[in-house]
């Protein structure tokens, strides 16, 4: 498959779109859980971009990076959700607006 029917820029376009949607989710939602999901969305957008570049250059490195990103995402989700559970148990909320103890 030397030629490719779809220009690779379009994959980047989709990635950018997904990334932006994820960003909006992070910035405007109140639920910590959904924010987390939005972050996953952003990570996936980047993954898409990586894979597309990997295809473009014909090198495996991009795919390896995706592999690592997934590992990090898994770790992040595990710890992040644990934190959420802990917070919720104490404060009965999953809304980020109600958790601002770090106020200076």
């Amino acid at each position: 498959m030397t030629g490719h029917g779809v220009p690779l820029e379009l994959y980047q376009l989709v990635a950018a779109l997904l990334f932006t949607i994820g960003l909006v989710g992070v910035l405007v939602r109140r639920s910590a859980l959904v924010i987390f999901m939005s972050i996953e969305l952003m990570l996936n957008a980047v993954n898409l971009s990586f894979v597309a570049f990997s295809r473009l250059h014909g090198q495996m490195d991009g795919q390896i990076f995706v592999f690592f990103v997934m590992s990090v995402a898994a770790a992040e989700v595990a710890v992040g959700l644990a934190i959420l559970v802990a917070i919720f148990r104490n404060r009965e909320t999953a809304s980020v607006d109600d958790v601002h103890l770090l106020k200076g």
Binding site: L23, L27, I35, V96, D97, H100, L101, L102, K103, G104
Partner: protein
């Protein structure tokens, strides 16, 4: 034993000091005495042997040095621990070891009941070492070591009875005032090194006439800086204030340090550096004026003091003034001569006073004495000899030495200096006999309590008195005026002061160097060559003056005891001025000490703490305040942080996009 063992002369007392110091009072008194007195005694014997060997040398070879090791060396600077013996040093060495030995012996009696007996002898031995180092040093730096070390011993011994605040205070005052003088001395040493490239006496004095022009500012600066040191050590105006207070020390200490030896170090130093002084007429004149002024000034204060030791202290200040007067008019040998005789009779006076105080269980007030003659026969006799000697009555030692100074003052200094000396002589005779009459003459004013214990001192105290009395009686005979070949001391010291002529030879041409020039004349031709008529006249005048002083004292304090009170009543202001010592101490305190102290407090509180530290702490405060402002940005809302993060990302992306 002899010149090869010269270093032992100072070393033995040092050893004694270390032994007694380390033993720290654990030794029995007998052993302490043997170590303390024995070390100085041995030192005296070696000194005598050295002196004999020195005499055996030909006159122009009478300078022996003995180097021990290099003390300080840095770059082109070098100073050795090196002792030198020449006639001047020999005279000083004999005075120090001789009088020192007698006073050590005396101390075994006087301090017999003292708790810190070992400490006392340790200090006294240390002093002897320091003083010998001072007079035997071969360079300025080693001399300065001795100079400061005698100051330390003076501090330690004045403050020997440190439980009394007055003693502790007096010790500190002595040290600090001396330090002011030493400031000048130190700068003088620097100037000498910078000028000559060495501090060795022989090299400096040999180069001086070539390197320094007569009357040059440099010569004057060196001489005056050194003189500042002498003023401090020898208690001259304006730094004399420590000496009267130093009487807080034990009486033998006053005799040794504050009468016979240490305080004369300044005179010795000026004599030692006579070459430098001769190169600067200004400095010589200053020395003469300060000496004469001090002689007169201190004598007036001595007139009305009531503490027996303080009278002697002011008398010492006054007599030191005479010695400086002699040096100032270029008669260095006369100054040394008076130094020597003064060591005898003033030590004797102090020891006698000590004997009286001892007998009266510590009483020092003249008005609580009187009529002691029958009770203290030996003390009385010896003190009388000393009093006659200091008053300058023929044929006691003081007559010869004081007269020589007055003669030289007339000859080279002019009638004003001479006049000051003569008035001083009158006052001296008066206050010394006042002291004598109040102590031994008249009716007894001794308290009943003290009368009970009244006793003559033990032999250990009276024998030194007798020896000193003999010396006071015959000591003047080494230098008999008007008699050809009678000036044995002059002749002995001649090799030391001979270069005075050399120096002056270069300066004679200048009118400005007249003082130096006439000094040279003096050096070249000894006394007998001067017009004998004038000299005899002057001698008679001073004798008459001394006798009239005695007469007035007798009239005041024996014949008509109420007279002084009436006189004091009539001239109340003047009396109070004298009695309060011209309020000099008070003036120093209020004009110098207090302003410096208060200024320092202000400097600390209002500048150090407020300004400097305030600035430091202020910086900290400002940072804290700034941080408090920045803290507002930390809202604690995650999404605000995320928003700011996004903003950053947007900016970076924008940069990448538009690049």
């Amino acid at each position: 034993m002899g010149l090869n063992q010269l270093w032992l002369v100072p070393a033995l007392p040092l050893l004694g000091a270390i032994l007694n110091g380390i033993a720290a009072g654990k030794l029995p008194r007998k052993v302490v005495s043997v170590i303390g007195v024995g070390s100085v005694g041995l030192s005296l014997l070696i000194a005598l042997a050295c002196f004999r060997e020195l005499l055996a040398l030909p006159e122009d070879a009478r300078r022996v040095t003995q180097g021990l090791f290099t003390w300080v060396q840095s770059g082109d600077f070098q100073a050795d621990v090196r002792y030198a013996l020449d006639p001047l040093g020999a005279v000083m060495m004999l005075v120090v070891t001789g009088v020192g030995f007698l006073i050590h012996v005396y101390s075994t009696g006087y301090m017999g009941h003292e708790k810190a007996y070992g400490r006392y002898f340790s200090f006294l031995n240390l002093f002897t070492f320091s003083m010998l180092t001072l007079v035997l040093a071969d360079n300025f730096l080693l001399m300065f070591l001795g100079w400061e070390a005698v100051g330390l011993c003076s501090y330690l011994l004045i403050g020997f009875g440190y439980q009394r605040p007055a003693a502790a205070e007096a010790g500190k005052k002595a040290f600090v005032v001396n330090r002011i003088g030493d400031w000048g001395f130190l700068l003088g040493i620097f100037l000498i090194f910078v000028t000559f490239g060495t501090l060795d006496f022989s090299a400096v004095f040999a180069q001086a006439p070539q390197k320094l022009a007569v009357g040059s500012a440099l010569a004057a600066a060196i001489a005056l800086l050194l003189f500042l040191g002498a003023v401090g050590k020898s208690a001259q105006i304006p730094l004399y204030v420590w000496l009267p207070d130093a009487m807080e020390g034990p009486t033998p200490v006053s005799a040794l340090i504050h009468a016979a030896t240490m305080v004369t170090a300044g005179v010795y130093m000026v004599a030692r550096c006579h070459v430098l002084y001769l190169l600067s007429p200004v400095a010589l004149l200053t020395v003469a004026i300060v000496g004469a002024a001090t002689a007169l000034f201190a004598a007036t204060i001595g007139l009305v003091q009531n503490d027996i030791k303080r009278v002697l202290a002011y008398s010492t200040v006054s007599q030191l003034g005479y010695m400086f007067l002699a040096c100032g008019v270029g008669a260095f040998a006369s100054g040394i001569f008076h130094l020597m005789t003064h060591a005898f009779f003033k030590a004797l006076l102090f020891l006698g006073a000590g004997s009286v105080i001892h007998a009266l269980s510590g009483e020092q007030d003249l008005w609580k004495m009187g009529g002691l003659k029958p009770h203290l026969p030996r003390t009385h006799a010896t003190v009388l000899v000393a009093t006659l000697a200091i008053a300058g009555i023929f044929p006691f030692a003081g007559f010869f030495s004081k007269d020589e100074i007055l003669w030289n003052a007339w000859l080279h200094g002019g009638p004003v200096l001479w006049g000051a000396g003569v008035v001083g002589a009158f006052l001296t005779a008066f206050y010394m006999f006042r002291l004598y009459f109040l102590t031994f003459g008249g009716r007894s004013r001794v308290t009943e309590e003290a009368k009970h214990h009244l006793h003559e001192s033990p032999n250990s105290m009276t024998v030194p008195l007798i020896i000193l009395a003999v010396l006071s009686l015959v000591g003047g005979l080494v230098q008999v005026p008007l008699l050809s070949g009678g000036q044995r001391l002059d002749a002995f010291l001649e090799p030391v002061f001979a270069d005075a002529a050399l120096v002056a030879g270069t300066g004679v041409a200048h009118g400005a160097a007249s003082v130096a020039g006439s000094a040279a004349a003096h050096g070249a031709a000894s006394g007998a060559a001067h017009a004998p008529g004038v000299e005899i006249t002057l001698m008679v005048i001073s004798l008459i003056v001394a006798l009239s002083g005695i007469f007035v004292a007798h009239r005041f304090y024996v014949a008509d005891p109420d007279l002084p009170c009436r006189l004091a009543e009539r001239a109340k202001g003047f009396y109070r001025l004298l009695f309060n010592k011209y309020w000099i101490d008070e003036v120093y305190d209020s004009r110098i000490v207090q302003p410096i102290y208060r200024g320092s407090v202000r400097l600390w509180e209002r500048f150090d703490a407020a300004v400097i530290d305030g600035a430091v702490n202020g910086v900290g405060k400002q940072i804290e305040r700034g941080a408090a402002l920045l803290r507002q940005a930390q809202t604690g809302y995650v999404q605000v942080y995320a928003l700011i993060l996004t903003l950053g990302a947007v900016v970076v992306l924008g940069y990448l996009a538009l690049r």
